[in-house]
């Protein structure tokens, strides 16, 4: 069987411990919620109207569940914590697999986040695919698992996130994977 030293190196990072908890910049807050809803065109009132949120059984305005990941994103200067997936990514980029697309996102919400909740995220590399030929070019799929906790240490959400790191095929190609 053909060996792939790069695959061996990258997949070894599945044994790395999870990242240190990455703190959200700010607690869940109305300006970021409003910004999100504006961009998504989401007009559900529980995200911006306290009375509507309370009428629906929430203590205060809540964040759209799908915004879970946004609160702890690394930002323009890529502030964050190292873990097996960031190390795997760095290794792939160095080897020329420098283009990335996300392919899967599976989120579970244990409760809605309300204004004032402070999120902490820990991420680990769950799995690495062998090198695959895709419409975009040859590459590796990395699957990470992130756990989101609140200020009380309770798990409020989980995410499986899969990305493809590839060597771009011809730039003219269209209609490939997203």
């Amino acid at each position: 069987m053909e060996t792939d030293p790069l695959y061996e190196t990258v997949s070894a990072h599945t044994a790395d411990p999870p990242s240190e908890p990455v703190s959200a910049w700010d607690p869940v807050n109305q300006p970021m919620i409003r910004h999100w809803c504006d961009a998504m065109g989401d007009e559900l009132p529980i995200y911006t109207d306290v009375a509507a949120a309370r009428a629906a059984g929430h203590p205060d305005v809540v964040a759209p569940p799908a915004s879970l990941q946004a609160w702890t994103m690394p930002g323009l200067r890529m502030r964050g914590a190292e873990d097996g997936s960031t190390r795997a990514q760095a290794t792939l980029v160095e080897a020329g697999y420098l283009a990335v697309v996300a392919t899967d996102c599976q989120q579970t919400y244990h409760r809605y986040l309300t204004v004032g909740d402070h999120l902490y995220a820990t991420t680990r590399l769950d799995s690495v695919s062998p090198r695959k030929k895709t419409a975009l070019g040859e590459g590796y799929f990395l699957t990470s698992i992130t756990e989101y906790r609140d200020q009380h240490g309770e798990v409020v959400g989980e995410m499986l996130f899969r990305t493809l790191w590839f060597k771009p095929a011809r730039a003219q190609d269209t209609g490939a994977l997203a």
Partner: protein, 135 residues
């Protein structure tokens, strides 16, 4: 919470037709704090083999959440969103989100199968589960 009936398997959600503009792509990327250059920088996207910038997955996820709660209402709680991306959402295209109830549990959990298609094919397929739909 309303005591009215749960949706039935096969019930379809109102379609959501979204023109995909550069502005929508960039607005979604910034609101989700995703600064990957392929979501806002055309030359950088081309260098990485893409003909144009394309929508980030966080925006797709946000649009899927919106699409389902537009139908389910303010009292519903989303429990899970699981999506898989296919072809990209490039500027100039239109994505049409469609969905249908796939399963209704005895505990009132409702599973909705969703699809967002553009002229290249399926941009997103997935499943959203909710409870507390007081329709």
């Amino acid at each position: 919470m309303s005591e009215t009936a749960l949706p039935k398997v096969g019930e379809t959600l109102p379609e959501l037709v979204l023109p995909i503009t550069p502005t929508r792509i960039v607005a979604g990327a910034i609101a989700s704090r995703d600064y990957q250059d392929v979501h806002h920088d055309v030359p950088a996207a081309r260098e990485k083999g893409s003909p144009d910038i394309f929508m980030n997955i966080l925006t797709t996820n946000g649009l899927v959440g919106r699409f389902v709660t537009d139908w389910a209402g303010a009292e519903a709680r989303i429990l899970t969103i699981a999506i898989r991306l296919g072809v990209p959402n490039y500027p100039g295209d239109t994505m049409t989100l469609t969905g249908a109830v796939a399963k209704v549990g005895e505990d009132g959990t409702v599973e909705v199968a969703i699809r967002g298609a553009n002229q290249l094919g399926n941009h997103v397929t997935g499943t959203v589960t909710l409870k507390g739909i007081g329709k």
